[in-house]
């Protein structure tokens, strides 16, 4: 072959490759979303790669385009109206300009700049699946080109992120027995971790890891220990319906390879007579080896709980200075009304301070709470602050490494009168064994779980929602932003010291993270029920939040 012919041939090859080559599968074209990228999420702040925005779960973004100075210029960029009537409690993910969001249990891929739909993966959970609190999901996980969806009927489904086609579908637990998956899964290395909700149905809770490629179970940790497992003796015979649900996403510390998860209440909720003991690992945080699921340490916030105080909060990891030296801690505002600082390497209890009015705790003995004597549950009923929905709940807090403050959505002044009752366990039925009443003059004032769209008439002494900025050093709050109604909104902070949150009143607002002063607000016409998140495309920063069943995205004018 002459060199001339060679050149012609080569040119033809290049042309052909140019014309058709893009159709061939070529992994080098786009960087995969590797587990290293998730590990270093803070290096690509334009993306939002996990439920809480990173393994430390600080819900804090390094993005700085929106500032305390220009937040007043925020305007609506687009809305995604889900064809779904329940609350949207999920946090969307954004990867390289594509947003992955949910619509009920459907998954949608959207253009993150316009909200237009690339594809929808429709999923209708089995109609006989049980869930206590709405047929909702809190979001997705992603690894490589695969999304992971946990469904209300307790399936874990892998979905191709490019075309919305299912890749595998794994039955995690039995939906008709009260197991449901509402949490956004957490990807660590090559595994997807989830656990079932169902604390009101007498489930036997667990945290399990599945191989991301095949869906095969890799390990399982029982949040209610089985016979022979450590902690089993903290139950009596009651372990068989012990609860211990999982319903918000855990965190991960690569340095110790530990993954941290908050565990729900013991079953039945309001009567401990059938479960004598501390009821491990309910109302606890557990630290598990991410490769094996082996328990490294645990801390139980509420031993032998009878007030429905799930420890289902986001484990926020922070590296702070503690009593003069650097310390790797976990910050935890619990439903039981206390803000805890724990050493995240060992689980050592460092400090606990009240976040709202409480009357059940008379101090701590070596980290173990001391029950106030007049706060002992009975069949006649006992008045307890906070109420069963807690002084805070599942909604995400935020930690800003810049301000050093830990921001929490708090319910102040709530109470319930808790009375034990008898209720036999029946599979798939609500299993709470108690009665809840209040001293409020009407039903509309109750600090209930569901944000009911009706006029607010409550007085401050009855209950209210507030954003409080806690200093971990003292455990006290520096400032608060009070609302008239309650709030189920999570909190986002940014490296420009802007804080975003909302509430049941339907406002979405920006505060100065240093002072708590209001920078901007907008009325969205329905309760804000998720954690806001932020991302950027083509150098423009966006903030996304949901209210009722729609997703709203804001950017600067």
């Amino acid at each position: 072959m002459t060199s001339r012919r060679l050149i012609v041939l080569a040119a033809a090859w290049v042309l052909a490759a140019w014309a058709f080559g893009a159709w061939g599968p070529d992994d080098t074209l786009l960087a995969q979303l590797s587990s290293e990228r998730i590990l270093n999420a803070q290096k690509e702040p334009q993306n939002w790669l996990t439920y809480s925005g990173g393994y430390m779960s600080q819900r804090h973004s390094p993005l700085t385009q929106i500032t305390t100075g220009n937040a007043k210029d925020l305007e609506l960029k687009w809305v995604f109206q889900a064809r779904w009537l329940d609350y949207m409690q999920s946090t969307p993910l954004v990867v390289d300009g594509i947003m992955y969001a949910t619509q009920g249990n459907d998954v949608v891929a959207l253009d993150a700049t316009t909200g237009k739909i690339f594809w929808i993966y429709p999923y209708t959970p089995a109609s006989d699946a049980r869930s206590c609190c709405g047929r909702i999901t809190r979001g997705l996980a992603i690894l490589g080109d695969t999304l992971f969806l946990a469904t209300v009927d307790a399936h874990l489904i892998a979905i191709d992120a490019k075309n919305g086609r299912p890749l595998w579908n794994r039955i995690v637990a039995q939906g008709t027995a009260g197991y449901s998956l509402t949490t956004a899964p957490l990807v660590i290395k090559d595994k997807v971790i989830v656990g079932p909700a169902g604390g009101e149905f007498g489930i036997q809770g667990f945290i399990a890891a599945y191989d991301a490629a095949t869906g095969r179970e890799a390990w399982r940790f029982n949040t209610v220990p089985q016979p022979g497992e450590p902690g089993h003796d903290s139950w009596g015979a009651g372990w068989t319906h012990g609860g211990g649900s999982i319903w918000v996403t855990g965190s991960y510390d690569p340095e110790t390879n530990l993954t941290f998860w908050g565990v729900g209440n013991p079953g039945p909720d309001y009567n401990a007579e059938s479960r004598p003991g501390d009821n491990l690992y309910t109302c606890s945080v557990v630290a598990l080896d991410a490769d094996t699921g082996k328990l490294k340490w645990h801390y139980q916030f509420t031993p032998a709980d009878e007030f429905d105080w799930d420890a289902v909060q986001i484990p926020v990891l922070a590296d702070i200075s503690w009593k003069g030296s650097p310390r790797k801690v976990m910050l935890w505002a619990n439903r039981n009304g206390f803000f805890y600082v724990l050493d995240r390497r060992t689980g050592e209890f460092l400090q606990a301070t009240p976040i709202a009015k409480q009357n059940w705790n008379a101090g701590f003995d070596n980290g173990r709470p001391i029950r106030a004597l007049d706060a002992m549950p009975s069949r006649d009923g006992v008045l307890i602050y906070p109420g069963n929905q807690g002084a805070t709940n599942w909604f995400s807090p935020s930690f800003s490494p810049r301000t050093g403050l830990f921001y929490v959505s708090v319910w102040e002044n709530t109470h319930h009168i808790f009375a034990r009752a008898d209720q036999p366990y029946k599979e798939g039925s609500n299993y709470t064994a108690g009665r809840l009443t209040t001293n409020y003059p009407g039903r509309g004032i109750t600090a209930g779980m569901r944000a009911v769209q009706r006029p607010n008439l409550r007085k401050e002494e009855e209950n209210f929602g507030t954003v409080r900025a806690f200093d971990p050093q003292t455990g006290k709050w520096r400032w608060e932003y009070k609302m008239s109604d309650l709030t189920d909104a999570g909190i986002l902070t940014t490296a420009s010291d802007v804080l975003f949150s909302g509430g049941r009143e339907g406002y979405f607002f920006a505060l100065d993270a240093r002072s708590g002063s209001l920078l901007w607000k907008v009325q969205l016409g329905g309760p804000v029920q998720n954690g806001p998140m932020t991302y950027a495309v083509d150098g423009r920063q966006y903030v996304a939040v949901s209210a009722s069943n729609s997703l709203f995205v804001f950017g600067l004018r």
Binding site: P441, G442, P455, N456, L457, R458, K459, G503, E505, K521
Partner: protein, 173 residues
């Protein structure tokens, strides 16, 4: 059958026991009321219409009583007339605002949020105020309704209650 009869007997016994307890603690029972006389007391001497509305007539500031006969028992109605402040439902709360120019307005609270107060004002207008425009604002404690324990006789009270008991709502025709 036998079980049913026995259950009924037990129920009756329990009911008797309950009335005895009631009779001991409560003052004398009211005489039998006359609803026609109650209706005129409602619009006349009692001046109930200055605060209450029935079938589209009267003030909207107090609770609309059009269906109070089906939502409340005579005992509850008696309690409302004798001790109105004993239990005020959230939907009957009053709120007072003072505007920048010093005008004070007390109305029936309809909705309250972090930024806004919404009420029915004394002129029965729907009003919304931005808290940032107000000099002061807050709940008004106690009841607007006077007790009728002394201003109405026992017979008059019974008549008014008999009238209220007939108010069963707007009937579809």
């Amino acid at each position: 059958m036998g079980v049913r009869v026995r259950a009924l007997a037990l129920l009756l016994l329990a009911a008797c026991a309950a009335t005895t307890v009631l009779a001991q603690s409560a003052p004398e029972p009211l005489p039998t009321g006359d609803e026609t006389s109650g209706a005129s007391l409602f619009t006349g001497k009692g001046a109930c219409q200055t605060c209450h509305r029935v079938q589209g007539k009267g003030s909207r500031l107090g609770p609309d009583l059009t269906d109070v006969g089906s939502t409340r028992t005579p005992a509850q109605l008696e309690k409302s007339l004798l001790d109105p402040a004993a239990e005020i439902l959230p939907e009957n709360r009053f709120y007072r605002v003072v505007t920048r120019d010093g005008a004070s307005i007390t109305g029936k609270l309809l909705n309250l949020d972090t930024f806004q107060v919404m009420m029915l004002d004394p002129k029965e207008q729907l009003r919304a105020f931005q808290k940032s425009d107000l000099r002061e604002h807050g709940f008004v404690d106690g009841s607007k309704m006077p007790s009728y324990a002394t201003t109405l006789s026992r017979q008059e009270l019974a008549d008014v209650i008999a009238y209220l008991a007939t108010l069963k709502g707007v009937v579809a025709q």
